[in-house]
Subunit: 287 residues, 4 copies
């Protein structure tokens, strides 16, 4: 995606009914905005849901953008649709949570520095000090918040305070090995992305690679999903697999698997940052 | 795709400029047509080309559809766009050309019978009799037109006559081992799909598997493309690859490869039949 | 694999210990047999299992082959290993079971006729008449044995009688929608291959595509496995997946999925026929 | 692979003839060495080449290993085979060459630190200073050797001196944008691995992504190969591809492509380090 100065992304969700595309595209045309790319999908045209993503460009003037914002607000009220309007140029504020293993973290940081992830990263939080040097080498503040079963509430409160302080809009769990409480999750609805080290729903829970080894699977996978209160049950954003064979020990599967984990997670984060994901019930629409 | 009775696909191409989406979607809304799915893409928003594919539904009445047709015709003149409007329910007339090897033919026939390829197949033409029994077992007429360098013009004339007689809209070269003249090609612009047995542009020309074997590649591929006068140079619709290794002889590559050929060709044919391909210069836009 | 007249495949399994490779390769050398390809693997060199597959060629003479057979029998007794010795040229006797859906059957029959599956197919058995014409068009006898919960024992007895009569060595369940009793399974240990229409162990049991749709997965898969008494729990031979997205209905997943099912099943059958699979506990070693 | 203290890898190449496997496995057995894994392949059993890779374990004693070495040397002379014997535990000395773009370098360094690449990296050489901080953060010395057409000989001489000083056994060109002279290449036969940013032999030479964009391909690829005097023509070790579509600009292809480049290169390096590659004529045998 191109993050030009005068480009915006509009995500729309509503009960499907005729005329929404016409109303929105006419609004944009009347405001001299040009649609650069658009995707639309309806679950079922009779009683279904309508989803749309539009990238458009406006004339280089914030007043102009604000007038589009206001017009959309009115239109949404009239037509009863939910929408999200984002300036493409604005970087989202993203925090990364990590434990000891750094493969997902390293991938995200490398892609971020290479310009493939369009975000600011004001902080990384970890329950272990292991990745501090790496994080700080990117000029990113690192916060060590030890977390145990005993201090979970305090630790989460400290984390939430930091996230709020930095206006964090996306939390990425890059192999963060603590379970988050529903208090935490409810603060960031559809804004926490986790990587699960299996092809969900296979091998839900702990030690998926050990279970995969026991079962003798010929492919192992990874699943990036939004976090909900139901562990490993949130809306799936991305999945990928890699071929393995009888020569792989359980430990080998873990090593091979982390190369899929980091790729699947990075893709999911990128799509979220580019406003390509809409969550509907327990699924994602990816444009 | 769903081939409902009252559904249509509209493909639009033009010089990019503001207002096209608004104009078309308003037209459809005014005619009580509901947009079910839409995709839009512009090569470059300043001086670029605009491409759009819309699936919509109208009220169950041919008069209603004709009024949409007429309105579109006027709009296209006003806004200077090119378009193609297809009723989803109407089956395209497709002919298959084949030589001796039947793997691509068998795949197409199986998928056609299974309902995955939405078309009528009024005839299969071959320069060899080998596949006659198979073709006729599907109730499809088989025409044996021997083709050699000497009789090429006559053979092509006979084929063209048959294709015209059956109002053929798509010619699929399912491993047809004769080169078509530009006379033939010009009769079916962007309506002949060929499968080339390599990952183009690698191994252009004859015997790609022998060349791939010589080069020691680790993947072999296949390329489905529209046929133009430039051999192996037409717009690519689909490509796929499969992993091979040092144990594969040139003959093994050919056997492995045909399993990729048939899959890539069937996908390309399906996308064409579902009006998902727009050719622009020497490339395809796939919605 | 090349099914030459004077080529054989030797599969060996035993407790790992030094000297097995030396003993067997020396035996073959002493009998003027040349090793063409060999693969060997041990689960763990201390107290592990040893697996080996050797392709070798002998001088063109059945007496010569028999002398190798006898020598191997003695050696196996001395060294306490289990082995299987197969002439590459001999075609295995394979039966296919099918219900109504023909996608896996068609793939197997096409590949068989194309020479990619090295076997004889003396019969196809079905609990429905739907595929009779297709099967018989290949010159293969078709047996319609209706199977219900009520007549399961009789139906299985009839099937077993036919399989025994034709000396069937491999039973392929090509989307056969009846559960086999343990009586049946025990007659063909590690010689029944089933295709399950999901990426096991995800979506065990009935209606995996409906479950996959509900869960919103981004990949769907298929699993070819040996049948044991534990439904969907037998040793996995092959798995594959294909990418899907939010636009796929549950029905679309089924259509997309059958294209993966047929490919995964055909690969598993081919590997079995080429003596590439060794079952160890609940896993397969694939050479 | 497991780099145990008392494990070795033996690679053997020779004219194919009966008895080699027997001779070598008997030698190992007689020296109380246990074969842990073995792979063997012959190009053609009549007048072909024989290739074998054996992993074996000996009793924990260097004297024991030396006696195996001596015995092998004699056997090689008798049977006229070429071999390479490597202790699995010994780390190869690897140098990385890089220019400005760091994606391949970062991948190699991350995998090296994660233990996935079993080597020492005594130095990184670059014709630009851009990656110095990153390299040194891993504790690896960084040498900046500016290279231009004018000073190529001197620059190469300086690099060769450094490589010799550090006993470098493998040179990895991780997007090093200078052409090496045949003087350089001849110093490291089959020991220089390059990553080419296309699916060779498509798009040989400069600017492959621009060419791929022009051709409208639907997959882009990367090729890791040994460097020979013929540019882009050396033996291929690994290739991989990724799907792209009409929305990718030439610049997007470059960004997507580097994610395939780094993966393909890292795999090729790993296989080389684990002694899995044998070069035969212009191809690789990968065990």
């Amino acid at each position: 995606m191109h993050h030009h100065e005068n480009r915006a992304i509009l995500l729309v969700t509503c009960q499907d009914k005729p005329g929404i595309v016409a109303a929105i595209s006419t609004l944009l045309f009347n405001h001299h905005a040009n649609i650069v790319q658009s995707d639309q999908y309806s679950t079922d045209h009779e009683h279904g849901r309508f989803f749309m993503r539009i990238e458009f460009e406006w004339q280089k003037d914030q007043a102009h953008f604000r007038s589009i914002q206001q017009a959309l607000q009115s239109l949404a009220a009239t037509h009863d649709f939910t929408y999200k309007l984002e300036e493409a140029q604005r970087k989202k504020q993203m925090a990364i949570f990590v434990s000891k293993e750094n493969h997902c973290l390293s991938e995200l940081l490398w892609k971020w520095k290479a310009g493939e992830l369009y975000a600011d990263i004001p902080l990384v939080i970890s329950n272990h000090p292991d990745t501090q040097v790496e994080v700080e080498s990117y000029g990113i503040p690192f916060y060590h918040i030890p977390a145990t079963k005993e201090n979970r509430e305090e630790a989460e409160a400290a984390a939430i305070a930091l996230l709020k302080e930095h206006n964090i809009e996306l939390v990425v769990l890059a192999r963060y090995m603590q379970i988050l409480t529903s208090t935490f999750v409810s603060q960031f609805p559809q804004r926490i992305i986790n990587i699960h080290h299996s092809f969900l729903p296979a091998f839900i829970g702990a030690n998926p690679y050990a279970k995969a080894f026991e079962r003798g699977v010929k492919l192992i996978g990874a699943t990036a999903h939004y976090v909900t209160d139901d562990l490993d049950e949130g809306p799936i954003i991305e999945q990928d697999v890699i071929r393995v064979d009888h020569r792989h020990s359980a430990k080998d599967l873990r090593i091979v698997g982390r190369n899929i984990e980091r790729i699947a997670l990075a893709r999911a984060v990128q799509w979220h940052l580019d406003d390509r994901c809409i969550v509907h019930q327990n699924k994602t629409i990816l444009f």
